[in-house]
């Protein structure tokens, strides 16, 4: 009840602010999986294209880290988001609605060690440092920590801010293992040419969706969704997508496809059953 009331208030506030949406660029928040600059390099060409195509001016808005990104979602600071943090119970009340999702493969959480690491099992991580992207990361924290907690393995958590940074800390030897998004870590390790070994992998989850704040008029949301979905089919859009994917070492297929909230019920379900403390920052 409280959550709903809060959501209603926030929605009203967003509606009020959206009255000015026509003469301002709408913010497009992207989850902090990589460092913000790389993220910007990947996303700004896409958003420029989408803005042109949809007629909805979009501006990339990045948080400094995952926690900040989650806080900004919770506060409804983004008009559009490319993130799954909106599914956490605290954020879900803001009311972001999924309008599309990336065509990239599903994601899964993984606990990895460096190739030459003597650690062979999760059990060996007991009381050892394990680096996580952030307390808000779904496949990077919630999913592996839940597993570790359920396995009775107490690790000493470290938080690196984002996925790539977490792997980078592992590579630097700061931690014995890193908990990361399998796709991000794969791309990053490939880029950085770092060998690693997967100790544990979670079940798969749908990759990141694009959601829209409830204050955004539907036409704009649809226009954006359409532009995104049609992007891969457009020569220019495909080129942009390809260039962006090359930046992060992502392999095809690229682009977006339509999606809805129902497609991500599995994630919401996990949050609800997770052993990880929910009100983490």
């Amino acid at each position: 009840m409280t959550l709903h009331l809060l959501a209603a208030v926030l929605a009203t506030m967003a509606a009020c602010s959206s009255t000015h949406a026509s003469d301002r660029r709408l913010s497009f928040g992207v989850i902090t999986q990589r460092n913000p600059v790389l993220t910007a390099q990947v996303w700004n060409p896409i958003l420029h294209y989408v803005s042109r195509r949809s007629g909805v001016p979009l501006q990339l808005k990045l948080a400094k880290n995952g926690a900040e990104h989650a806080r900004m979602i919770r506060q409804g600071e983004f008009d559009f988001i490319f993130s799954n943090h909106n599914f956490s119970p605290l954020n879900d009340i803001v009311g972001y609605t999924v309008i599309a999702r990336t065509v990239e493969p599903d994601i899964q959480g993984q606990i990895v060690v460096l190739s030459d690491s003597p650690i062979q099992s999760l059990m060996e991580l007991q009381d050892r440092y394990v680096v996580f992207p952030s307390r808000m990361a779904f496949v990077g924290y919630y999913v592996p920590q839940d597993t570790l907690l359920r396995s009775g393995i107490r690790v000493r958590p470290l938080f690196a801010g984002n996925q790539e940074s977490a792997f980078a800390q592992l590579a630097a030897g700061r931690a014995a293992a890193a908990a990361v998004n399998s796709e991000v870590v794969r791309d990053y390790a490939t880029r950085q040419n770092i060998g690693f070994r997967v100790l544990w992998s979670s079940e798969t989850y749908l990759n990141m969706p694009v959601s829209v704040h409830p204050s955004i008029p539907e036409n704009q949301a649809n226009a954006v969704r359409d532009a995104l979905v049609e992007m891969a089919d457009d020569a220019e859009g495909a080129k942009i997508l390809e260039a962006s994917a090359r930046l992060i070492g992502q392999k095809p297929p690229y682009g977006f496809m339509p999606a809805s909230d129902r497609d991500y019920e599995k994630i919401r379900q996990f949050y609800r059953s997770s052993m990880v403390k929910k009100d983490a920052p």
Binding site: N35, P36, V37, T39, A40, Q41, V42, W43, N44, P45, H48, L60, K61, L62, A63, K64
Partner: protein
């Protein structure tokens, strides 16, 4: 071509200086070059570094800021900017977001140390760059970075400064080291130089220890070796050349000129004695022809000398040569052929002595001998020279003449054979004077003797002998000089006679008389003998002298002297003592006898008649007689006593003989002497005064008042003393001139006093007496003129009175004086006319205005008809001659009447007036006028 000054200066720089300059310049150039390269390199480095920094900062900042720019983390951007701006050299970092918002920060300001010129020189480019943040095609603003080059400039400057300091330190150190090294290193060189100097000055034994650097040590050793070699060489040279040198030295130092010449007469050597002889130096003569020394006209002589030389003939000869100063020299030359070591005839050697002086001396000696002979022949003295044995060698012509021997004839005789002299008094032959001086050589032994010539003629001679000595002082003979002194003997006798005799009368003179008198006094004293002295004074002699002239007077004296000389004995002495005074000394003559002699003489004179130009004069004599006997002190003033006696005789009436005066008379004479003192005192105390007695006109013809000034002395008690008391003494002691002058001055003064009084209108004539002594006072007219001027007196008011006897005694002077003063306007009066010679003839010669008859006629004329006749005659004569007459001593009226009747013009006497002072006269005149 002139040398470059820099080069000239460089040449003066010492080795140390050159090293310093070269090294300093090199080091400075290297240092500056190195510094320039290093600085340029540093400039490049810092420029590159700054560009790198700029690039780095931008490359760092752009991605660093990208992330917060992307996330909008302005705080982080600001923090990053502020962090980066702290980096060195970063002056400014500025980020401008796409909306134009600016985040900027400036670096700490750096204080510039480097100077401006340096900063301009290195000229750093502007270090400012900016870059656009474009991420994924999205602009995220602009980043600008500006760097400051100040720090770099400071660093470069500091580095350069340090390098320059090091360079300066290096140069300084190099200088110090160079100085030290050169100073120390050159020490051996300096010592070497000193040693070389000493060696050069002849100290050939000097060596140096091998010191210093190897090179210098080697140099020292080289020097030592060289010095040793030279020393050795010199020694060997000295040894081998010693003989030649000795010969050369002998030749050079010989005081005989030695010249060698080749066969062409070209001089090949010339020693210093030759230089002394000829004046030419060796440099001037060697290589020149001998002909230079020949006289200009001696070409033939030179040619024959060359011929002789070529024939290798030795000879000795005398010749004339020419010196450098042009003098012609007499030289004694000895020439010998000259052969070289191989025996070839190569020339001639001449040894020359300058015999000019010797030649001259010979000539001088010859001339001297000639001169001596001529001198001896021409002198007035006789000269005999003898050899050391006293034998005659030579007689000069005078000696020949006096001795009667020819010189040749007498030569060889002993002196006494030819020269025979005897002493004048004893006829004794004098000792041989030559023998004396030969025995006891002392020059100029003199003597007098009488020479007896060969023909027995006798001559008084003076002779002197002297030894003749040679240069060593040895006696080689004697000379006897004698002269005929008969003339000088005669002269001496004559002089002696003249000294003791009166030239006019040939009688003994006063000096001789006094000498003989002294002898008599002495004999009287010593031998108790009694002699007599007569003092004789002629009377009326002056009349002869004045009327007929001195020649007449002299003749009178001569005749009278002869006459008197015949009246005394040969042993007696008759002398002329002065003008007309004579003295007679009668030896061993008692007073009565002496009185007789005196009377004889007086009578002789009285009887004598002197005739001169048809005039006959009678004269008399007053004679005083005195005895010379007894003690010397009694006779001290015997001549004065005789004089007094003579004077007494004159006083008693002349022409008489008076024995020596008695005591009373002597005291009278002494009283006269006292008067002289009183007269002088009266002069000093101005105690003379004048009284005036009127000369009264008897015929009422004269209008002027005529007075005679009469002198009075006022004694110390105020009493008047009449002139008769002191005038005789004054006359006797020649004081009358002084008294006359005094009277003239007083009368003129009082006369002018009268002129300035109210009685001035009355015409006045003052008569002033002049003594005979004043008549001969040549300066009196000048004195009178001076008094006229001084007292403003008028000559026409003055009349001078002179006595007849004084006028006649000094006739010529009197006439001259009268004329001179009358020309001025003065008048003259002839006083006491009739008392003396009364020769009217004189009157014609005396241009007087008044004739004043002697009072002795006037006083008794009233009783004595002769006197009256005399007065009449004189008056008549005077009037005939146009002279006014004055009668004095008029004491009564009958006399005055007689005079008036006789026609006498003026009368004077107590009858008319008593003498009064001028004050009294003037007062009475005023009373009369009143």
């Amino acid at each position: 071509m002139s040398e470059c000054p820099l080069r000239r200066s460089w040449r003066r720089v010492s080795l140390a200086g050159r090293l310093l300059i070269a090294n300093g310049t090199l080091l400075a150039a290297l240092g500056i070059g190195y510094s320039t390269v290093v600085v340029q390199s540093e400039i490049d480095f810092y420029q590159s570094d700054l560009r790198q920094t700029l690039k780095y900062e931008l490359e760092f900042l752009a991605p660093a800021i990208s992330e917060p720019a992307v996330t909008g983390d302005y705080a982080l951007i600001k923090q990053m900017i502020e962090s980066r701006v702290q980096q060195p050299d970063v002056a400014l970092i500025r980020w401008t977001d796409p909306r134009g918002s600016v985040l900027a920060s400036s670096g700490n300001e750096i204080i510039a140390i480097a100077p401006d010129w340096f900063v301009r020189w290195i000229a750093f480019p502007r270090l400012h760059q900016e870059t656009e943040l474009l991420i994924g095609g999205e602009p995220y603003g602009k980043v600008e970075v500006a760097l400051t080059s100040t720090a770099a400039e400071n660093k470069i400057w500091e580095a350069l400064r340090k390098k320059l300091e090091i360079l300066l330190f290096g140069i300084g150190t190099m200088f110090a080291l160079t100085l030290a090294v050169t100073a120390n290193g050159l020490k051996p060189l300096y010592r070497l130089r000193a040693a070389a100097l000493r060696f050069g000055q002849g100290e050939h034994s000097v060596r140096m220890p091998p010191i210093g650097q190897p090179e210098l040590s080697a140099l020292v050793q080289a020097f030592n070796s060289m010095a040793g070699n030279i020393d050795e060489l010199l020694r060997s040279l000295r040894k081998s050349d010693a003989r030649n040198r000795l010969l050369a030295v002998i030749v050079e130092q010989s005081n005989v000129a030695i010249i060698t010449k080749d066969l062409n007469g070209i001089i090949t050597s010339w020693n210093s004695a030759a230089t002394q002889v000829y004046g030419y130096t060796a440099d001037e003569m060697i290589g020149n022809s001998m002909q230079r020394l020949y006289l200009p006209v001696s070409d033939a002589e030179f040619a024959s000398a060359l011929e002789r030389m070529r024939q290798a003939i030795s000879m000795v000869f005398e010749a004339k040569r020419r010196a450098k100063n042009g003098w012609v020299l007499d030289v004694h030359v000895s020439v010998s052929p000259l052969h070289d070591e191989a025996g070839s005839h190569i020339g001639e050697i001449s040894v020359i002595r300058d015999i000019t002086r010797q030649k001259k001396a010979e000539e001088a000696l010859f001339a001297e001998k000639e001169r001596a002979q001529v001198t001896l022949a021409s002198i007035a003295d006789a000269v005999i020279t003898t050899d050391i044995s006293g034998n005659i060698e030579f007689l000069n012509p005078v000696a020949e003449q006096l001795l009667g021997w020819e010189s040749q004839e007498a030569t060889g005789y002993a002196l006494p054979a030819v020269f025979h002299a005897v002493l004048e008094n004893t006829e004794e032959t004098i000792p041989n004077p030559v023998e004396q001086v030969l025995r006891f050589p002392c020059p100029g032994k003199r003597g007098e003797a009488e020479l007896v010539s060969r023909n027995r003629v006798r001559l008084p001679i003076e002779h002197s002998a002297a030894p003749i000595c040679n240069r060593e002082g040895s006696v080689i003979g004697a000379v006897l000089v004698f002269r005929d002194v008969s003339a000088s003997h005669n002269m001496a006798r004559q002089l002696n006679w003249q000294a003791t005799h009166d030239a006019l009368t040939s009688l003994a003179n006063r000096r001789e008389f006094e000498r003989q008198l002294e002898a008599l006094i002495e004999s009287a004293h010593a031998n108790s003998r009694s002699h007599a002295l007569l003092y004789l004074d002629l009377d009326q002699f002056k009349v002869v002298n004045d009327t007929s002239g001195h020649v007449a007077g002299d003749e009178l004296l001569r005749q009278l002297s002869t006459l008197l000389n015949n009246r005394v004995r040969g042993s007696d002495t008759l002398a002329r003592l002065g003008g007309d005074e004579f003295g007679v000394l009668l030896v061993d003559c008692p007073i009565d006898k002496a009185m007789e002699v005196a009377e004889t003489l007086r009578q002789t004179i009285c009887d004598f008649r002197f005739v001169w130009q048809n005039k006959t004069f009678c004269i008399g004599a007053s004679i005083g007689v005195v005895t010379i006997a007894g003690d010397r002190s009694h006779n001290a003033d015997v001549l004065a006593v005789a004089d007094a006696a003579c004077y007494l005789a004159k006083d008693k009436g002349r022409n008489r003989v008076q024995a020596s005066p008695n005591d009373h008379e002597l005291s009278y004479r002494r009283g006269e002497m006292q008067w002289i003192t009183r007269i002088n005192t009266a002069f000093e105390e101005k105690r003379f005064c004048l009284h005036y007695q009127r000369i009264m006109p008897l015929q009422e013809t004269g209008t002027e008042r005529h007075y005679e000034a009469l002198l009075r002395m006022v004694d110390q008690d105020g009493r008047l003393i009449p002139p008769m008391a002191f005038i005789p003494a004054a006359e006797r002691y020649n004081m009358m001139r002084q008294i006359d002058r005094h009277v003239i001055a007083m009368a003129f003064a009082e006369c002018s006093m009268r002129i300035s009084s109210p009685a001035a209108a009355v015409p006045f004539v003052i008569s002033i007496n002049l003594s005979g002594e004043s008549l001969s006072d040549e300066k009196l007219p000048d004195y009178i003129k001076l008094q006229f001027l001084e007292h403003d007196a008028r000559p026409r008011d003055i009349c001078f009175e002179i006595t007849e006897t004084a006028a006649i005694a000094n006739l010529s002077q009197a006439v001259s004086l009268i004329k001179e003063l009358r020309d001025m306007g003065c008048r003259f009066s002839l006083d006491d006319f009739g008392s003396g010679l009364s020769s009217f003839g004189y009157l014609k010669n005396l241009p007087v205005d008044f004739l004043k008859m002697d009072g002795s006629f006037v006083r008794d004329m009233a009783q004595d008809p002769i006197d009256a006749a005399m007065v009449g005659a004189i008056n008549d004569i005077g009037h005939v001659m146009g002279i006014q007459t004055i009668a004095e001593w008029v004491e009564d009226r009958p006399t005055a009447d007689m005079l008036r009747n006789l026609g006498v013009d003026y009368g004077q006497g107590y009858h008319f007036d008593k003498p009064k002072t001028m004050g009294e006269i003037l007062a009475s005149l005023l009373n009369k006028a009143a």
